[in-house]
């Protein structure tokens, strides 16, 4: 998400996608109206550290000291055991994993939609020590080839291009300003069956 918005173009000075050019002599019968909510969020320390590590090219998570589940990104707590997690529970995560779920999105050209072709958003269960990232992009792979069990690896943006300005306190799984996406490793698939029940 960028700081620039549609309404920065000052109301209806530019037609929305799909609009035809207005007839300069026709009566004006409609008015574009942008309702806008702008949030400024102070980042919690756990997210701040996650973002700093991302810019340094490292993915981190927290391992719950009670159940052992790994949260990626770290949340500062385990919602299952209701215990706090801290830097002491930090683990560095793998750059490789396996697709456990996916959605193919066919973009509708609503106002502000920048994508035109179908694309995949996938969940990736990372190799040891674990953790699952959601809503990740797949690179170098036609959407029809995306499948559960596919082995993938992270493609990092060059250090000078890494941007964590859009990471907020609720953007779980967000690494998109630093990891461009995940590409198939070419290794044999893992059996899809074992991921059908995977949530975390």
């Amino acid at each position: 998400m960028s700081d620039k918005t549609a309404s920065d173009k000052t109301a209806n000075s530019k037609p929305a996608p799909g609009d035809t050019a207005p007839d300069p002599d026709a009566p004006v019968t409609g008015m574009d109206y942008f309702m806008q909510l702008e949030y400024h969020e102070l980042l919690c320390p756990v997210v701040r550290r996650y973002a700093e590590k991302l810019r340094a090219g490292k993915l981190i998570g927290h391992r719950c000291p009670k159940c052992g589940l790994v949260y990626a990104p770290p949340r500062g707590y385990c919602p299952i055991d209701v215990v706090e997690t801290t830097d002491a529970d930090e683990v560095e995560l793998a750059n490789r994993g396996v697709v456990t779920n996916f959605t193919i999105v066919t973009p509708v050209q609503y106002y502000g939609q920048t994508k035109t072709e179908p694309f995949a958003k996938v969940s990736i269960q990372l190799d040891e020590p674990g953790g699952t990232l959601t809503l990740q992009d797949v690179l170098d792979c036609p959407v029809d080839d995306v499948r559960v069990g596919m082995r993938v690896e992270a493609v990092w943006a060059p250090p000078e291009e890494r941007d964590t300005s859009q990471i907020g306190n609720r953007s779980w799984g967000s690494a998109e300003g630093c990891i461009k996406g995940w590409r198939p490793t070419g290794e044999p698939d893992l059996p899809a069956d074992q991921f059908l029940q995977a949530a975390f």
Partner: protein, 150 residues
């Protein structure tokens, strides 16, 4: 982008297109064509901005094209508020005034902006006149008011 931390900004935006109805359609079509239109009220007064109803009785007005009449482009500031630090949603990126402007020929006043440059150029009762944009689209921001040359 380390400077962006430790805060982040999220903007949620909903683009609507509002249907204008007979009166605002005529009014904004007029603005696009460089004319400010008022509507004739049942008591003979001229309302600008125009409305679909008599503001005192609620009776429906004649909204046919013949009911409209041109007002302005000059007018008198009835009251005003100076905006020292505009936000990005304001019409200017420099200080300006919001003002109630009673346009010449109108009986009511229009809430609009005066691009006066400095607060000491503003006063209640001052004369202003419309300054039109070249590229008009039929929107209230097609014009702004400026102090009338004395």
């Amino acid at each position: 982008m380390g400077d962006a931390l430790p805060t982040t900004t999220h903007i949620i935006e909903f683009p609507y297109t509002r249907t204008l109805g007979p009166v605002y359609s005529t009014f904004l079509t007029g603005l696009r064509d460089g004319r400010i239109l008022g509507i004739r009220n049942r008591d003979g007064s001229i309302l600008c901005p125009p409305t679909e109803w008599d503001p005192w009785t609620g009776d429906a007005l004649d909204t046919s094209p013949a009911a409209f009449t041109e007002v302005g482009p000059g007018g008198t500031v009835e009251t005003w508020a100076w905006v020292e630090r505009p936000t990005r949603k304001h019409p200017f990126d420099h200080p300006f005034a919001f003002a109630l402007i009673k346009l010449d020929g109108a009986s009511t006043s229009l809430l609009h902006v005066v691009d006066a440059g400095a607060i000491d150029r503003m006063s209640t009762g001052m004369r202003v006149t419309a300054r039109w944009k070249d590229d008009r689209i039929g929107h209230i921001t097609d014009l702004a008011f400026v102090p009338e040359a004395s």
